[in-house]
Amino acid sequence: MSSKGVRGNPSLRRGVGSKTTDSEKIMEDPPAGDWLALRSDQLLKWIDDAVYNAAEATGMREVVDRVTRPIFNYAQRFSPHPLHFGIMCCAIEMGQASAPDHDIDRLGLVYRSSPRQCDILIVNGPVCEKLRPKLKTLYEQMPEPKWVIAMGECAISGGPYWDSYSVVAGADTFMPVDVYIPGCPVRPEALMHGFLTLQKKIREKEPGMFLRR
């Protein structure tokens, strides 16, 4: 089994490698104090800094966070919108989970076709070397906060194709995965349990934050 990536590589985790855009590069050192000379975006940045520093200094940030964090966390964990994206046979089970027998719409799931409007990427099948950059792009197109579910043996470790020359040995070799759902294929009940596990994880580990930079 070839190790194409390190599981739990810290540089792959969320929020570490933040990209800097052109406007941020321009705004690196605004003229200090002389706020009349600022451009409009620099002025907004200056106001943002001033409000943030004032909130931090007076302890208002902790108070606001303490009140708003549970509310945003509540909304985030009870409104999961996964990407409507299927790779192989686990996608059939994903469809079956939405069907009347196992109605996953009870959990509030809405499958969206555009990655811009999604929270959760479900990797449901073996990721080939050809698909890997596309999947990575899809993951990067999703807005924060976002989570990844590896559904089935193939997405966890390569499954029956673990020794193949063309199949990546698990989705966690190139993107952070939050929930692993074993099974070949995964049953719809297991997928539902995976969503509830993710909900538990969001509530425990990732409090939705406000006024964070």
């Binding site: 509540y74 009870f78 409104s79 555009s114």
Partner: protein, 410 residues
């Protein structure tokens, strides 16, 4: 007591008890900084100030009523869709607030998933909305940033504008424009500009095709829509929704049963219902956001609260479209006595919306060439035939006005 007189009473009360003392205190505190054009406290004492304040109250009440209905419509859509497919739909219950209380209090979390999902699911809209606020707003690197930001603003503002334009009854009205329905249709026509703008500014081929389809759909449907409405305007002699509803109620058929517009103008009613369905872009005509062909249509590149604005605005437009159909053809708020007229109006509106939801989950989408053919070759002649019938009834057949007893004024 109408909505406006209630608001005027409320405005007088708040001005006398709260606002005028506050402004007098503030103006006494900072005498050099008072408004040179005149004191705000003095202006609030005049009739103009009270009326302005009353209009503000009325518009806010109409907005709150519309937003409440928006939540109910989205909930109805998801629940009825689930029932049609033999499912149960969203089931997030009010007992899930227990977890929120635990998190706020900082106590130990409890895990009761069954209790969380054992309700009617109306909180699902709340969760979706708050989540959308907390999501990241992405502007694509090669997008036109100004237009990309302006698109949702044009769309949502023109849609929210619709909420205060139609009256719920002759006493519950936040606006009293004599050209009321023309203003509503003008506000309806602003939104495709927002669609086209956001579709073009996204720099995405799917968004672009969606925006172009929206423009094509607008051109093929606005004309039969307005022509089918012209019959109603000719019958009532006015654009005012109150006058239109009074005319429908005044024209009796036999034994005093009112003959509403959908009976004499049946062709116009059918044309109008098809066209308003295309106007609010619901399913048989949702070409701009065809999910099977274009990814999400013109909303493809929008994330977070901007996408939620589009979703909200679509349902607001659906609600307003159903309200216009009710006013024009189904007798508005007229109905037997013991039930208040506002409830009658909302009942008819919700019946139309439920009918649309049934259509949405029953029929497939039609193609672009079919939509243009339907608009130009079938609905346009039908609406012209309807207009000719109405002209024949109202103008050429003079004694028809005695049968239906049109009001003397017109």
């Amino acid at each position: 007591m109408s909505l406006f007189s209630f608001c005027k009473w409320m405005a007088e009360w708040t001005a006398q008890k709260m606002l005028i003392p506050i402004f007098e205190f503030q103006e006494g505190l900072f005498p050099p900084f008072t408004n040179p054009a005149g004191s705000i406290a003095d202006w609030l004492g005049t009739d103009g100030g009270i009326t302005t304040l009353a209009w503000l109250y009325a518009v806010n009440i109409a907005f709150a009523v519309g937003m409440t209905n928006l939540i109910l419509v989205i909930h109805l859509e998801r629940k009825i869709a689930a029932r049609i497919q033999d499912r149960r739909g969203p089931m997030l219950s009010f007992r899930s607030f227990r977890e929120l209380g635990e998190d706020l209090a900082g106590s130990a979390p409890s895990w009761k998933f069954k209790e969380n999902y054992a309700g009617i699911g109306i909180l699902q809209n709340l969760a979706d909305g708050i989540k959308a606020i907390a999501k990241e707003l992405i502007v694509p690197a090669k997008a036109d940033k100004f237009l990309f930001t302006m698109g949702p603003i044009i769309f949502i503002s023109s849609s929210v504008f619709l909420l205060v334009l139609f009256p719920l009854s002759d006493r519950f009205a936040a606006s009293s424009a004599p050209a009321g329905l023309m203003v509503i249709m003008a506000a309806f026509s602003i939104a495709p500009i927002g669609v086209l703008t956001s579709g073009w500014a996204s720099n995405n081929k799917y968004s672009m095709i969606g925006g172009m389809r929206s423009a094509a759909q607008l051109m093929s449907y606005e004309i039969p829509l307005l022509l089918s409405m012209a019959g109603v305007f000719l019958m009532a002699g006015s654009y005012d929704p109150v006058v239109i509803v009074e005319q429908q109620q005044a024209s009796s058929w036999f034994f005093g049963i009112p003959i509403w517009n959908f009976i004499p103008q049946f062709i116009g009613f059918i044309v109008f219902m098809i066209c308003i369905l295309a106007e609010v872009e619901r399913v048989p005509f949702d070409l701009p956001e065809a999910e099977a062909e274009l990814v999400e249509g013109w909303t493809t590149e929008y994330s977070g609260i901007r996408y939620m604005f589009f979703l909200m605005a679509e349902y607001i437009r659906g609600f307003a479209g159903a309200a216009v159909a009710t006013i024009l053809f189904l007798g508005g708020w007229a109905g037997p006595w013991p039930i208040p007229p506002e409830i009658w109006f909302l009942t008819k509106v919700y019946l139309i919306i439920i009918f649309w939801i049934f259509i949405r989950w029953s029929v497939p989408r039609i193609r672009t060439d079919q939509i243009l053919e339907l608009g130009w070759k079938k609905l346009l002649p039908l609406s012209l035939i309807n207009l000719l019938i109405v002209i024949f009834m109202v103008e050429i057949y003079p004694y028809f006005s005695e049968i239906v007893s049109l009001p003397e004024v017109f």
